[in-house]
Symmetry: C2
Subunit: 173 residues, 2 copies
């Protein structure tokens, strides 16, 4: 979910399983933990969870949205998140706004520039049992999903925030 995921090294959750399938088929990544390969319908109309900004190489502005199940769980502080929860992170390039800065009279305003990616966390405790009950998804702006190798760091990174059921983003009032 978090763009931090893409920076981290691959650590498979079920290493034994991967080792087995690798030796059996020679195509380990085809048997890797399942992840989200289709963009959930209607996500752009979901409710705001919060906003986020990453400096450094990512240099991003992001909005995190949730479907109805997610928002209800966030607002009622339900943990773990119930099956059916979907959280979306829409990332854009953090881009100076010349138009706004002109009105301000100084350089301080940043807006959403071109989209960089859309990420999802889909809770399905059966389908995604190998990754904490969460399916992770990452799509380029043209809707193309990332491959298994790209997705494999998601779970080990999110696993570091077990106290919030692997979810980094907190609800903003």
């Amino acid at each position: 979910m978090r763009r931090v995921a893409v920076l981290l090294v691959v650590v498979m959750a079920v290493a034994g399983f991967v080792a087995f399938t690798a030796s059996a088929s020679g195509h380990a990544d085809q048997k890797a933990a399942p992840y989200v390969t289709q963009i959930p319908a209607g996500y752009r109309d979901w409710t705001l969870v919060s906003v986020a900004h990453e400096e450094g190489n990512l240099n991003s502005l992001g909005a995190v949205l949730g479907n109805d199940v997610a928002i209800k769980a966030y607002r009622e502080k339900t943990l773990p998140y119930p099956d059916g929860t979907i959280i979306a992170a829409l990332h854009y390039k953090n881009t100076p706004s010349a138009e706004n800065d002109k009105v301000f009279g100084r350089d301080q305003s940043f807006v959403a520039g071109p989209p960089t990616n859309i990420q999802f966390m889909v809770k399905d405790s059966v389908k995604y049992a190998a990754t904490g009950g969460w399916g992770f998804g990452h799509f380029s702006p043209d809707g193309k999903p990332a491959d298994a190798a790209f997705m494999s760091p998601c779970f080990p990174c999110h696993e570091k925030v077990k106290n919030t059921d692997l979810v980094f983003t907190h609800y903003a009032p």
Copy 2:
């Protein structure tokens, strides 16, 4: 709408009207152009328009949301925005996330901290005729509206972006 508004000097749209009411009643601000004094119901569930970040003294992270009329107009590029349009800007303190930075291994992650204010633009070409058809609103996190003096810079600032019907925020895909 934009937090930039609060930084600018008062320039009333109908200076003659204000001068008249000031001399007649001694309470100019009671007769100032109308602005939004009640928080529109349900705004927190509206659809995302875009995200924004201000550096400098404001040091804010913001989400801009729109009601159904607003979102339809944004997506269909309808200008001017029709009556019934409401745009909300939710502002939070741009706050470093120690939790995220720990996972990243470096200081780069900023999240929505405490809310600082909520601002609205309400389109009603009759009620708000004196301010370009837009009613501006600014509320502290406890829901208290700003007073007329505080609100008076909104219109002259927004008037600088006439080509987008006084709306600064563009729709993010």
